[in-house]
């Protein structure tokens, strides 16, 4: 049913060499509207490289990345004009970093962090911006009374919630996440994952989520790519891949997880 609409994003033969060192090789996949794609694999397997390549943050050495723009249909994200690409990145896309310091403006309040994207696209009514910030704090289950506090005063889990709110305020269609729960305690992680799952479902968001944690992948993603040494070794529906892995490396990866 999902496959009837064109893919939101398609990567074809994406290859990235870092001065001769392969980061990822010949990676191809699609992300459909509303779909959550997980990318798993051991450290150094190329997950972050792929994520950065498909989110216009790192131009691949070869291969293409196409995104279905709202007005002009599919467009190569590295061939479109820079203003168009930058606008896309701060409106239609979101990016949630593992380290909140990279994704938040630490010197300004939570409200300003959430309002920034709105102001970047022309919002000029303080009261409205504040209302939106208030609504989003509420949606990510944060205390709206802390709107004027600096991110530094928040816990790690709250900082991640703030990062999510700050991205979602412009109603993006796809969010890229690199180990969004990586720095958190297990219990905090679980609550954040619940929140993320709820938001993704409610908003019909597409997401690409990089994680080395198979439990995270199972909880959030519909489909999974397994990476090893820069290559995708297996892909498929999450449950299929995790319950019945075909590739020897996937089998090893799944079996090495200690089941509770």
């Amino acid at each position: 049913m999902m496959q009837e609409a064109p893919p939101l994003l398609s990567a074809r033969g994406v290859t990235k060499f870092y001065e001769g060192i392969p980061g990822c090789r010949d990676v191809s996949f699609e992300v459909w509207p509303g779909e959550v794609l997980g990318i798993v694999g051991e450290s150094g397997s190329g997950k972050t490289t792929v994520l950065n390549c498909i989110s216009a943050r790192l131009e691949p050495t070869s291969g293409t990345v196409e995104y279905a723009t709202r007005h002009d249909g599919p467009a190569d994200i590295y061939r479109m004009s820079e203003p168009a690409r930058r606008l896309l990145m701060r409106t239609d896309w979101g990016f949630v970093h593992q380290n909140p310091r990279e994704g938040l403006r630490m010197g300004v309040s939570a409200g300003a962090n959430i309002g920034e994207r709105l102001m970047a696209v022309g919002a000029r009514h303080y009261g409205n911006i504040r209302q939106a910030a208030n609504d989003w704090l509420d949606k990510v289950e944060m205390d709206t009374g802390r709107m004027d506090d600096l991110p530094i005063t928040f816990s790690g889990g709250m900082q991640q919630r703030l990062q999510i709110a700050r991205n979602l305020v412009t109603a993006p269609r796809i969010v890229f996440m690199d180990e969004p729960t990586g720095n958190l305690d297990v219990s905090v992680q679980a609550r954040l994952l619940d929140l993320l799952r709820g938001l993704v479902t409610d908003l019909g968001l597409a997401a690409v989520i990089v994680t080395h944690d198979l439990a995270v992948a199972r909880l959030l993603s519909h489909r999974l790519l397994v990476m090893r040494r820069g290559k995708v070794v297996e892909s498929g529906l999450t449950d299929q891949v995790l319950d019945d892995p075909q590739h020897p490396y996937s089998q090893l990866l799944v079996s090495s997880v200690i089941h509770p």
Binding site: R86, V108, M119, R124, Y126, D148
Partner: protein, 292 residues
Amino acid sequence: MAEDGYNFAYLDEQTKRMIRRAILKAVAIPGYQVPFGSREMPLPFGWGTGGIQVTASIIGPDDTLKVIDQGADDTVNAVSIRKFFARTAGVATTEQTEAATIVQTRHRIPETPLGAGQILVYQVPIPEPLRWLEPREAETRKMHALEEYGVMHVRLYEDIARFGHIATSYDYPVRVNGRYLMRPSPIPKFDNPKMDRSPALQLFGAGREKRIYAIPPHTQVRSLDFDDHPFEVQKWADVCAVCGSGESFLDEIVTDDRGGRMFVCSDTDYCARRREAGHTGPATRDAETGGA
């Protein structure tokens, strides 16, 4: 006459031509920061070497120069710069705003409106308005090129969230000609409206950061704000204690060690001229009645 041993106005002609080219480019692209090869000047950077180089490049023997610092003609900084040009260019100097063809300033725009043919030269410490949020020069240049200025409002938002109003009161950011975002140098926002559509040419020189920018005559200059928090200038409950002006920018002056204080015009020329014209303020009136 200029003193021997110096080229006219200190800088050599080749340097002046280079700076004039930068100025011409700056005038052609209002608000755009043009890089230039800033020279060593016989004054430390904090003394306005950017403004001095601009003035040196545009001044001619027939010009009359006024130099102000925080509105005053008689501070050490203003006096030194005025002497510098009197010595190296032999030009006439003045304290009267309307008698000057060039006004070099640090931190104020004169109260007396500037007219066509006059040039206001600002000394600029930090030219880049986006620097507070983006330390990378390549990135700020890109933001200017793509007019990505929305984040500038984040700062104003933060002001309102914290203080209930836009508390930024100096170096208040403006859009020039509907295009470039510009720092007006640390003038009070009280002076911002004077930049808008001024018949005078306004030139800005940043020595340490090697940038020149300009507002050509009659150019629109808009101060950033929010629809529901419009731009406002400083207001005082008092008038100037000396000349009674209720329209000028006032400095608070402590008059004794028992907490006595009064407000006086920061623009010394404006205030003195009003006194000459017979205006009085609370302090001068008291003195006169007390003496009678």
